[in-house]
Symmetry: C2
Subunit: 323 residues, 2 copies
DNA sequence: ATGAAAGCGCTAACAG
DNA sequence: CTGTTAGCGCTTTCAT
């Protein structure tokens, strides 16, 4: 059997209450009592049961993190910082990979609620998940509008699109094509596309149905080169897609940046160390994580805070040799 | 206040026990009672409190996952599969990034125990963490020897080293240099180095003190080219390091694969989609995850299983154009 | 400065 | 087939 508070109390010859007080540094305890208790804790190698504590306190210090997949540089960097900052605030992170699937996300959300998480950070793609509707449940969304009462954190997608396209134009591109995810999602990231379509004269956007299937991405890109042999600039809405562009271009002997210039999006450490040539729009990932966690923490502590907020953080162009 | 089982019982006009029985499908319940209860659950939008349930059952269905950093393709892919498989078995994963620091790992381990996790999967670098000593705590280590009673899962590092070096020799390399992490760690991954040093005549291994600091890696690699201008093959112990080699080579106008051939290690999806040219030794990451979770699950269910085991899975050479 | 007792929300004997 | 009761390990009034 696991050793429990009562065992410590017995060994120290005091009541459970006293042990609890020593453990939590609450109330007055004489030095000798404290010493006795500490020795007993040491001797028995006692670890307090946080499950029991959570039950009483109605606070678990757990937060749920729902991402499409951690196996992607953007989400892994984001998750890294979210976990880091949460951990500094005393929260533990439960990781959920929804793969963007409605059923999965729904069942994760339900699971998190049943486990009494103090709050949830969602970076996913689905609407209509009932579990999120509870107005007493603190939720922060990253780059997605879930409901009017759920704060959104993200970077300036319009500005990102603007910077990317403007840069391609400045570098002399005459025919710029944009590649993005499905257009039917109501997410702030559609503003990247919006910027592109507002700036360019005859905008041509190719949509990828499954951002996480790179073979399909490669096919779409080959089609772009077939459909538009005169394309001289590509603005991809993420770096992996941009990398696939570079690979397909290489395969077709298209010279970068002479014949074609490519700008990606995200600018994670991983991609930039693997592909230092890539010009990209860099999101302030650590700051996004920071902001999201801080807002969530506020929500957890003051239930009645302003919830209808959108935090928009600055992006920057990282110019390298693919443009 | 949150709605609880008792509220459901009252509304349905039955006892809490009956509600519990309906919820858990245990014992005999008449159809009308079940219906009444289900309606009440629906009406009140009731979610069972798994914290209370865990307290009673002494089973939380939580497992802890300690990685150095999720922000790295190998660990993010590994974590993805670990979470996926765990989730299929009904486990929830608590993510911990130790950054390889002893104090962090120790405090995460303590936290996990206090939260009553059912088990822990450790892919980290530190020995001497007392929390792991409890023989009743199910632990599985990935690629690290933590203690004789902790099962280890990993791929065949010796074979990986052998395949890499043999391949470089087959491709005509005369002077092959190896880059690895710190040599003072007792991990199976040192077998990659062992294979290299056994095969090559005058082995030269450069050690990286901090695998996650890529600027330092670049410096070390520049030094390699200065110290050994005649190097014609590099076997790097991970793909990120291999990528930095390629970048430094590019910077120094060293032509790949003519002047220099490079083999990496890990072969994650992310790296191979970003750098499809890279020749690498691919680890069976999904299988490692699978094996680790299944062993952990066994350990959780049968306390008295054989613990002194090492699972060694096969690797394969993925030949691309850096060799 | 310390202890006794009640209860957090749930489940499992044990009755009936 | 259903209810009563006790208790999981901890914290917190309320006494003393």
């Amino acid at each position: 059997m696991k050793v429990k508070l009562e065992d410590v109390a017995k060994l120290a010859g005091v009541s459970p209450t006293t042990v609890s007080r020593v453990l939590n540094n609450r109330g007055y305890i004489s030095d000798k009592t404290r010493k006795k208790v500490e020795d007993a804790v040491e001797e028995l190698n006692y670890y307090p049961n946080d499950i029991a504590r959570s039950l009483f306190k109605k606070r678990t210090n757990f937060i749920g993190l729902i991402v499409p997949t951690i196996n992607n540089p953007f989400f892994s960097e984001l998750s890294f910082y979210i976990e880091k900052i949460s951990s500094n605030l005393g929260f533990k992170v439960i990781l959920c990979n929804s793969l963007g699937e409605f059923e999965k996300e729904k069942s994760y959300a339900t699971m998190l609620i049943r486990h009494q998480v103090d709050g949830i950070i969602v970076c996913s793609y689905n609407r209509g998940i009932e579990a999120y509707d509870n107005p007493r449940l603190p939720i922060v969304a990253i780059d997605h509008y879930l409901s009017p009462t759920i704060p959104v954190v993200g970077s300036d997608n319009y500005q990102g699109g603007y910077l990317a396209v403007k840069h391609l134009i400045d570098q002399g591109c005459k025919k710029i094509i944009h590649i993005n995810g499905p257009g039917d999602l109501e997410t702030p990231t559609q503003n990247r596309r919006k910027a592109y379509e507002e700036i360019v004269d005859n905008p041509i956007t190719y949509e990828l149905n499954n951002l996480f299937n790179e073979e399909e991405t490669a096919k779409t890109i080959r089609k772009i080169f077939r459909d538009h042999p005169d394309v001289d600039g590509i603005f991809a809405s993420d770096d992996i897609t941009a990398a696939v562009c570079l690979n397909v271009a290489d395969e077709l002997n298209i010279s970068i940046p002479n014949d074609l210039k490519v700008v990606g999006y995200d600018g994670t450490d991983t991609v930039l160390s693997l592909l230092p040539h890539l010009t990209t729009i860099q999101q302030p990932i650590e700051e996004i994580a920071n902001t999201a966690v801080l807002i969530l923490n506020k929500l957890i502590n003051d239930f009645e805070i302003e919830r209808n907020t959108e935090s928009v953080l600055a992006v920057q162009l990282v110019k390298n040799s693919t443009t």
